[in-house]
């Protein structure tokens, strides 16, 4: 198989990613590498393509050119010789099982309790026995500090609690990679800390994470690398402390002067 090209401990490798929405050129040649266990934070102005890039990584959006690998496997395609073949829905779904995603607006299933939300994918997708999944789901909810909210429906939980359930739901599939799309942007300020704490714990546990965020404190403390995106391109990349303290690029300086 030639689709296992970038070996080693690379979890994500993006090579010249372009993405168009109609005539709108949203991603203009993204090259990025995320090693296993790395926490990469992505910042940038609204509309710069951060969400779109994240969604390409688990094939919620199709890329128009370039190559994207997750854990050594081409995302959404199979390569034989020079030719690319689109994967079937079943195969794409199988790839996504290893990639957890957390959304800005939580997207919990409102008709299921917190516990049912967390149990849904392992039972329905992987066909694991309910009893075992229940154990794991309960310990995950405990881990995110919600052992007393298991029977609650999302509408009965605060935003911060909902987001922590969403994180537990993604972790229940035991992913190798976690994608966070502005996980705290929809939260009241006093609820942000609890969610960031959970993410920090996850990072300490060695999870590979790509985090789109406006929380510079989190990026500085937890991030191993920081990427600044603007107008669909990576403008600057480096160690978070260095980029935040001493941005090289004009556009990074402008952006940071507005948000810090």
């Amino acid at each position: 198989m030639t689709d296992n090209v970038p070996a080693g401990d690379l979890m994500v490798k993006a090579e010249g990613i372009h993405k168009f929405f109609g005539r709108l050129h949203v991603l203009r040649g993204i090259d990025l590498e995320v090693t296993s266990g790395e926490v990469m934070c992505v910042i940038g102005p609204s509309g710069s393509g951060k969400s779109t890039f994240l969604r390409c990584v688990n094939h919620l959006e199709k890329i128009d050119s370039g190559r994207l690998w997750v854990d050594g496997h081409l995302v959404g395609y199979r390569q034989r010789g020079e030719k690319l073949y689109e994967l079937r829905e079943r195969e794409v779904a199988a790839q996504r099982q290893d990639i957890g995603m957390v959304f800005q607006r939580f997207n919990l299933f409102p008709h299921m309790t917190a516990l049912e939300n967390v149990m849904e994918a392992p039972v329905q997708v992987r066909g694991e026995p309910k009893a075992a999944v229940r154990e794991r789901a309960m310990s995950l909810l405990d881990q995110v500090g919600l052992s007393d909210k298991m029977a609650g429906y999302p509408s009965q939980l605060s935003g911060g609690q909902q987001q922590r359930v969403a994180i537990a739901r993604a972790l229940a599939m035991e992913p190798k990679l976690m994608l966070f799309d502005e996980p705290t942007s929809a939260l009241d300020p006093e609820l942000v800390g609890d969610v960031l704490d959970v993410m920090r714990q996850l990072a300490l546990g060695g999870m590979t994470m790509v985090v789109v965020t406006h929380e510079m404190g989190f990026a500085r403390e937890v991030g191993d690398s920081l990427v600044f995106m603007d107008e669909g391109a990576v403008v600057e990349q480096g160690h978070p402390r260095e980029v935040l303290a001493d941005p090289r690029h004009r556009r990074t300086q402008d952006f940071l002067s507005k948000v810090l």
Binding site: N58, A93, F103, P110, H111, A121, Q124, V125, S155, M173
Partner: protein
Amino acid sequence: MTQTDTVEPVRPETIRAVPVRHPGRWVSGAIVLVLAAMLVHMLFTNPNLDWGTFRQYFFQGGILRGLVATLELTVIAMAMGIVGGVVLALMRLSANPMLSSAAWLYIWFFRGTPVLVQLIFWFNIKALIGDVSIGVPFGQTFITWDVNSLVTTFIAAILGLGLNEAAYMSEIVRAGILSVDEGQTEASQALGMRRLKIMRRVVLPQAMRVIIPPTGNETISMLKTTSLASTVAFTELLKAGEDIFNANYKTIPLLIVVSVWYIIITSILSVGQYYLERRYGRGSSRALPPTPLQRLRRNLTTFHVKPQTVLERS
């Protein structure tokens, strides 16, 4: 509670004011009461109503058999409508242009013609296709059936009502599916779920909240629309009544028998719809609306209390 625990706060004086008078309500109330009294008087004194005949036929065998046939027709046609509606809705929303235009065409045709015409059409289907046979298309045939033995009046009624209902139900189901936030599908996809599973486990259960109220209306409407089947000689409730009053000319009492049965079933269906809506409202709001029983109990116990105290959560 925001009260400090040291000082017991003094409760401010409640406003005592003369409430606004509503003379219009008293006048209209009086008029309605007089009209109601006239109606009741007429019901019990008009000899043409003939309550003796009503009692005689209300539980009569023919009427009850007609009632059962009406219920069967309603249930089967609605089941066809719901299953067909879901299939048509999924077809219309599918990415496959053949499927979506086929569904569009179906809906266009069945909503564009009166259901009575469709019923008569199915009843006379023999005139269109002659006999049904199995064999090579355009070639040799192996088995042949007489269409009239296949399409009995019952089958004709079911086809006419059910296929028509599917067209209406598909629009209801489609609206329900479209009402579910796109983020739900994305979250499910990100978890590795596949299309059909997402539909079954995530989207349809949430769409139910939007689908059930109009489906209840459709069911109630279907119950009454089955009376059209009497025109294709299928003996349901109305036809059962007609058969009797064609023989004894007691038209009005028998129409009342039939109407009272329709009202009874409609009322039962409305109650069922109410509880179904509650069931699928799970998780949608912090408190479910009270059942009529709960409301009655609460209204009786808190009749003159200020509204705030009634707003407890169930």
